[in-house]
């Protein structure tokens, strides 16, 4: 556990010692602050909730999360520091979890910095803050699930751009699996069971469940197993490809 924390804090301090963290946080907050008003009709709805804000998260994460996850392992392999890391007395599990936690904490920090949205809506009206809290937790879980997918693709390549693109495409698939366009197409061709299965794999579906104010066991299981599976996959891929 101590090793995991040491690895995570090193990784996290790495974000802040380069412009990466500041560029990311700047654009993250600009998008998160502007788009709910500009695109999603936050004012025009005249409802005291943050639904337009949280509905944007899966879409914004599509390109913000790969930007964080792409460097996790690709840079380590490209610069050769992976050899240093893997000959230190730490296990593969500690490395994969430590680095993932650093990335997740980082997106958590970014998410916490969107608190002016919470202030705004509480100033304008009387929102259900329980629902808002649940949505924040849901968004954090979503970020974690997507980061784990990104960790897997970052482990597969030395090239950060490739890691970004692969993670983006995978994310696109996972978000669109719950989009009506895709679901309608599947419903007309396949049994209902398949539609339900596809829908339940989608980020959108899981996110919608949670932003209703309910963090149910299914969503927790979904993100939990997605994270565990992708991190185990990252470890296996790294073991296979570390020397190449």
């Amino acid at each position: 556990m101590k090793n995991v924390w040491t690895l995570a804090t090193r990784e996290l301090s790495g974000y802040f010692s380069t412009p990466v963290a500041y560029v990311f946080l700047f654009f993250y907050l600009v998008f998160m602050g502007v788009l709910p008003f500009a695109l999603a009709g936050f004012y025009e709805r005249e409802q005291a909730d943050l639904v337009p804000f949280f509905q944007l998260h899966p879409w914004l994460y599509l390109f913000l999360i790969p930007a964080v996850s792409m460097r996790l392992w690709a840079e380590e392999r490209k610069s050769g520091t992976i050899e240093l890391l893997m000959t230190l007395p730490v296990t593969m599990g500690q490395m994969v979890v430590g680095k993932f936690l650093a990335a997740w904490l980082f997106t958590g920090i970014a998410l916490v910095l969107t608190f002016p949205m919470y202030w705004t809506v509480n100033w304008l009206g009387k929102p259900d803050n329980g629902v808002i809290l649940a949505s924040y937790i849901g968004s954090f879980l979503l970020a974690g699930g997507y980061l784990a997918v990104g960790s897997l693709f970052s482990a597969m390549t030395k090239n950060q751009v490739i890691a970004f693109v692969l993670t983006f495409v995978a994310g696109l698939g996972l978000v669109f699996a719950g989009h009506p366009l895709v679901l309608d197409w599947i419903t007309t061709r396949f049994p209902v069971a398949i539609t339900d299965a596809v829908r339940s794999f989608s980020f959108l579906t899981q996110m919608n469940t949670i932003s209703g104010g309910v963090i149910d066991v299914r969503a927790l299981t979904y993100f939990g197993s997605l994270i565990v599976a992708c991190l185990i996959g990252s470890g296996i891929v790294l073991d296979m490809k570390k020397a190449t």
Binding site: T6, R10, S79, T81, E83, L84, M86
Partner: protein, 240 residues
Amino acid sequence: MIEIKNLTKDFGTLRAVDGITFSVRRGEVLGFLGPNGAGKSTTMKMLTGFLAPTSGTASIAGHDIENQPMAAKKKLGYLPEGAPAYSDMTPAGFLDFVARIRGLSGDAKRARIAEVVRLVHLETVLHQSIDTLSKGYKRRVGLAQAILHDPEVLVLDEPTDGLDPNQKHEVRALIRAMAPNKAIVLSTHILEEVEAVCTRAIIIARGKLLFDGTPQELLSRGPLDEVFRKITTQATAAAS
């Protein structure tokens, strides 16, 4: 302290390391010689647990690197080829990270980092990011990281590469000073280095061990570079 038995590594159809066996005792400094691509770095990567061997075993201080990797790695200090380090960190931050992973904390950690910094002369660049450092300083950061926990076994892949003559002299003096309490393996291209610091020399080419003896034995056969060329080209000629 180091036991290598029949170590073999295949990359696809290429046999990079071919049944190498040797051991290193405490107090010995083993010079690992060979042409480029001979399998020196691959052997070191297997010894330190980064690469899994195709067959054969390697152990450090009695711990098999494959079966007891954590115990073995705790006894080991390793400077990988090219001295990789996190380029966006400072030497101070980097050494602090390695010290924490090595289980050091508090005053013991601070004292040990200060001592190592003094040994490899990093004082002036301690708070400068590593990617702005010269090749010589980067190599010394890598060396500092390897000796931080005063390991019983030290594996150094080209420790003096990129250093100027004065720095080379200092690093060699440092290695000689540490030698009595450790088992040290170092690879090098510089034949004089073997004479200067090593108590034993091994020559490999095409993955095969061709010579294992003292530098004096090697010298008794004639000038070092000629002996080296003779041994390594014979193997190449025989293989082709």
